[in-house]
């Protein structure tokens, strides 16, 4: 693999709360190779959003990077001045957020907002608007030129998400970070957006870090997948490895639970019993041990090692160590 666009090494992030330190992310290692789509999957509270906030350095005020580093095109994001950081954001790196309904400023026209993100470019305003409308057409918004004068509320949710994607791609980033961009959309729209992203990624050749808890979206779009559980990256690998040969018991359980995976209709669906452990008082050993059907004694008191299962495919589990 060539040098990854984004290289997260040993990242730990804590939240300082009145109740104690929430260890939201622990020892995350993740690489996003250039022009590839990396998916991050996990249930609520697994730390996906924290990871993104850390990457773009737009973190909550009480969040602290406890350890590790994030390298973006070789630069250590933690060391960058806010000026350098701003130079990266919206140029080499751009984002699509979860809720298209609130991601655009309601009192400015779409054109104005798309123009403003090109504020660095020394071209005429007309040229910027032209680029904007071209981009809108590209993401499938009909009659793009005239719609530049519309306000966000003139667009439906799906349209708005297309606009935010257009904005994200307008700056031709090296890395696009997509934070659950389809969660708020209906299934038929989700399909459309995924397809759009896939096509555009092929055209623009940018890397995408894609976050979702919809397994089928991840499966369809991504080249590599990381599975997160309770602040840890428990397994990562190519999309086929993850979906066809899941190593970590959590990945397996997660796949089994999805009702669309279960071919035969059944009244009783599989579940993962138990709850996510407290991130303040972390259990010793494997983070998943108290919900793991195959937990052994070692799982309870020793943190699991990272086991390589195939090229690029690793999982953190004692039981895979043979």
């Amino acid at each position: 693999m060539a040098e990854p666009v984004l290289d997260i090494r040993n990242l730990s992030v804590n939240y300082l709360t009145p109740r104690g330190t929430v260890k939201a992310l622990r020892r995350i290692n993740l690489q996003v190779p250039s022009a590839k789509v990396v998916g991050l999957v996990g249930e609520s509270g697994c730390g996906k959003s924290t990871l993104i906030s850390a990457v773009i350095r737009l973190m909550a005020e009480n969040a602290r990077v406890a350890a590790g580093e994030i390298r973006f095109t070789g630069k250590d994001m933690q060391q960058l001045s806010s000026r350098d950081l701003r130079a990266i954001r919206g140029r080499d790196m751009s984002m699509v957020f979860q809720d298209p309904m609130t991601a655009l400023n309601p009192v400015f026209t779409v054109g104005r907002q798309m123009k403003d993100i090109q504020y660095r470019d020394a071209v005429s305003g007309k040229e910027k608007l032209k680029r904007a409308s071209d981009m809108l057409s590209l993401v499938g918004i009909p009659d793009a030129v005239s719609r530049l004068d519309n306000y966000p509320h003139h667009f439906s949710g799906g349209m708005r998400q297309r606009i935010t994607i257009a904005m994200a791609l307008l700056v031709q980033p090296k890395l696009l970070i997509a934070d659950e961009p389809t969660t708020a959309l209906d299934a038929t729209l989700e399909v459309q957006i995924i397809r759009l992203l896939k096509d555009l990624q092929a055209d623009f050749q940018c890397a995408i870090l894609f976050i979702s808890h919809h397994l089928n979206v991840i499966a369809e779009l991504c080249d590599f997948v990381g599975v997160m559980y309770a602040g840890e990256l428990v397994e990562k690998g190519s999309v086929r490895d993850i979906f066809h040969r899941p190593g970590h018991p959590y990945t397996r359980a997660l796949l089994e639970c999805d009702p669309s995976v279960i071919a035969e209709p059944t009244r009783f669906l599989p579940t993962i019993p138990g709850e996510i452990p407290s991130l303040i008082d972390l259990p010793e050993g494997c983070i998943f041990h108290d919900r793991c059907p195959g937990a052994a004694q070692v799982c309870k008191n020793t943190p699991p090692p990272e086991v390589s299962l195939a090229e690029h495919h690793t999982a953190a589990c004692h039981c895979l160590e043979v």
Binding site: G90, N105, D116
Partner: protein
């Protein structure tokens, strides 16, 4: 939009009519006789009676209200029997003074309050934010008539920097401006704090919204984010506040008008009530009520103009 405006105006008219009826019924039960005040201690009962008839006070309540509303509908606020002048002329003359005062107060309060609020929001939880917060809440709390009294004493009487009473020579704008400073300071001070707090609160809210986060993720310069993207949204509640604020100030300016012996509609109402000058009371209250309703209507409309989402729903 047209429908919205019609609806607002219709509502305003209804409010004004209800206010007039309310006012008339209040006047009806308030003891006191304009005749004894107008005519002075030397008036005879016959003279008083005649004045009552002239003012229509002998007619039944409903007739009085109806005839007043009828006259108002024809654009006539009636005659002031004290000074033998049309009420409208007197009221509007005083209204000018009050409006100048109110707008000046709100104006400087806004010019100071909005930047303070933005500053506080952007530098939230810093020492200077706390300081600004302390200051703004402090000035909200201090009663404006106390501010008026002290500033009068300090700046006019003791230091003699500024004139103490009146509104200045008509036509001499510099003079009028100087006469405006202290009263505008006194009633605007609390609003500085008020506006600063409100702008800070709504600014904080807006700065936490997703689209601001997105704007930051795109590396937009911070001044653009704060002063354009966020302020345009954060200013909306302030606009609403100003609408009701201007209306409320019109009547609460009475303290400043009394302390600084300034002419104005608040003082006019106060004096006319005290002297039971009913035509003036009616006229002045009607006009200030209309103004209140108008300013809320306008501020709502301005709000609607600023916010395209609201604008188009109308």
């Amino acid at each position: 939009m047209l429908f919205y405006l019609l609806k607002r105006i219709g509502l305003a008219v209804v409010i004004v009519v209800v206010a007039v009826v309310l006012l008339y019924s209040m006047i009806h039960v308030v003891p006191g006789d304009p005749a004894s005040v107008i005519l002075g201690p030397r008036a005879t009962p016959e003279m008083k009676q005649e004045l009552h008839e002239l003012m229509g006070l002998d007619r039944p309540f409903v007739v009085q209200v109806a005839s007043f509303l009828g006259k108002v509908a024809r654009g006539n606020l009636g005659m002031d029997f004290f000074s033998q002048r049309p009420v409208a002329q007197i009221v509007f003359k005083q209204l000018d003074e009050t409006l100048v005062l109110v707008l000046a107060s709100i104006g400087w309060a806004m010019l100071l309050g909005i930047p303070l609020g933005c500053y506080s929001a952007v530098f939230r939880n810093t020492f200077s934010d706390k300081l600004v917060g302390f200051f703004s809440i402090g000035v909200i709390a201090v009663p404006s008539f106390v501010v008026a009294l002290y500033s009068l004493l300090l700046f006019a009487v003791t230091l003699k920097w500024l004139p103490a009473i009146g509104a200045g020579e008509p036509g001499q704008y510099m003079d009028q401006l100087q006469h405006l400073i202290l009263p505008a300071f006194a009633i605007g001070l609390g609003w500085v704090g008020y506006i600063a707090r409100l702008v800070r609160a709504s600014m904080l809210e807006v700065l936490n919204e997703n689209h601001i986060r997105r704007a930051r993720a795109f590396g937009l310069p911070e001044h653009m984010i704060v002063f354009q993207y966020a302020l345009k949204l954060a200013i909306l509640p302030t606009v609403t506040l100003l609408g009701t604020g201007i209306g409320r100030l019109i009547s609460s300016a009475v303290f400043a008008e009394i302390v600084f012996a300034r002419p104005g509609i608040g003082k006019l109402i106060f004096d006319s009530v005290v002297s039971r000058n009913y035509p003036l009371v009616m006229g002045a209250v009607l006009v200030s009520t209309v103004l209140f309703v108008l300013s809320t209507t306008i501020s709502d409309s301005v709000n609607a103009m600023l916010d395209p989402r609201v604008r188009e729903r109308l």
